[in-house]
Assembly symmetry: C2
Homo-oligomer: 256 residues x 2
Amino acid sequence: MQATPPQATPSPATSAPRAWQSVLTHIEGRLLAGDLAPGDRLPPERLLATDLGVGRSSVRGALRVLEVLGLIRTGTGSGPASGAIVIARPSGGMATLMRLQVAGGGFAVADVVATRLVLEAAVVTELAADEPDQAADLAPAAELLDAMDLDLTEAEFLALDAAFHLALAEASGNSVITAMMSGLRNSVERYALAGAAFLPSWSETSTRLRAEHRGILAAVENRDAPLARTLVRDHISGYYAEMTPPPLTTAPTTRN
Amino acid sequence: MQATPPQATPSPATSAPRAWQSVLTHIEGRLLAGDLAPGDRLPPERLLATDLGVGRSSVRGALRVLEVLGLIRTGTGSGPASGAIVIARPSGGMATLMRLQVAGGGFAVADVVATRLVLEAAVVTELAADEPDQAADLAPAAELLDAMDLDLTEAEFLALDAAFHLALAEASGNSVITAMMSGLRNSVERYALAGAAFLPSWSETSTRLRAEHRGILAAVENRDAPLARTLVRDHISGYYAEMTPPPLTTAPTTRN
DNA sequence: GTCGTCGATGTGGTCAGACCACAGAATACA
DNA sequence: TGTATTCTGTGGTCTGACCACATCGACGAC
């Protein structure tokens, strides 16, 4: 039915006129044009395939990419939850990207930690700089701190720890930084967890972390940006410095 | 051959035991174990499919994801450049993710610019803090500035502009920040280009930008971190402020 | 009339097989 | 010896067929 030799894809711009990329371009164009927005449903795969003149497998390839990148969510069956639905949730995609890049050596763990430091400092600076009358909502973060006071396993504690930092990022209102923080934290989660086993005393460390969290939140609430920055830096770099000995095997070989 | 009813995938950990995800997990495991490193070639798709007990289409799905995320590069034909080769280049994946998230409304353009500001400031701070005797290599960035002195179209100028900022990030040595900067810049490139057409005077603006670049580089070379930070902030926010009127239609609807 | 059951329908998920294009290697031939 | 041809192995794509699943609607029991 469709182009066997001529390959009618109208976008051989760069170098690889692959079928699934043309589907991706098409959907991106519809997003850009506002024709597709979060909450909308994409056409069924089979319809999209015939409409665009490609095979269903190519459409599926594009949808899979969109799914991994957090752009859509797919569901089987029928009804409102079925089909491919635009969601535009970057966190998952960012986490996958970073996790795999760390696994593949594209990102050194030390760089991930350093970047987290930069972003985290920016977040608390931003939060502390807010006008008090229109302050960001720090309640979710505070609630997480309360939850961390309970008796928890290391994994549970670290999960809440991550959620706390993420809550701060969310409160700052920058979706890009929030997604990045989520991905960064996620990508080194296994290292944080593996390193926890090598700490001299988990109870001491967790007590210290709890206090540091309280301190950071208090500094933000008191609009003391420099203090908040300092505390955040010490908090993060301190934890990773304490547990670095065992893992952290970086492999910055960037051959082709 | 493989499991029709029992679905022998050994990793139904979370919620979605999809075939291509199991392939992805398998490859991620091999990366983590050091069994696969940049430069290595993955097994052929057909072999991988039979080995893992899934269809070739599922293998292809995983490989496509890895390709989009910048983990592998695929090539047809035979010879050393064929097959799927691990490369671990995060820039492309980051750019795709951010571009699509901006298109889908997951990222507001303003947040992208704000994040770029944060990272760019961190980069120059880091560069300025280096010990003079082991200073980062700023030569590539300087060369780009020389190239920008020529008579260029707006698109050419902006491309070199992006390359200059990227060169700074690379000089800082943080691969994560470099990839993020690349992606951020890339995702708003169309806005930067579209906005350039609305500037009162391109020649004036480009002259100013050139001077600002020189200033930033000089501040870094003089180890004046505060100055470099200030200049970078003014440089970026100034440009976007000057051209914001027309585009920048954010759509922060985060339903579903 | 109401409610439960059970098929019809439409969706994504997967598999299998068949081609094609491509690039290098092996072979045949001049 | 050198060139042309064929072979082989790779990813890229299409097609068709299933399956699992979730909803909807018709039908019959009560």
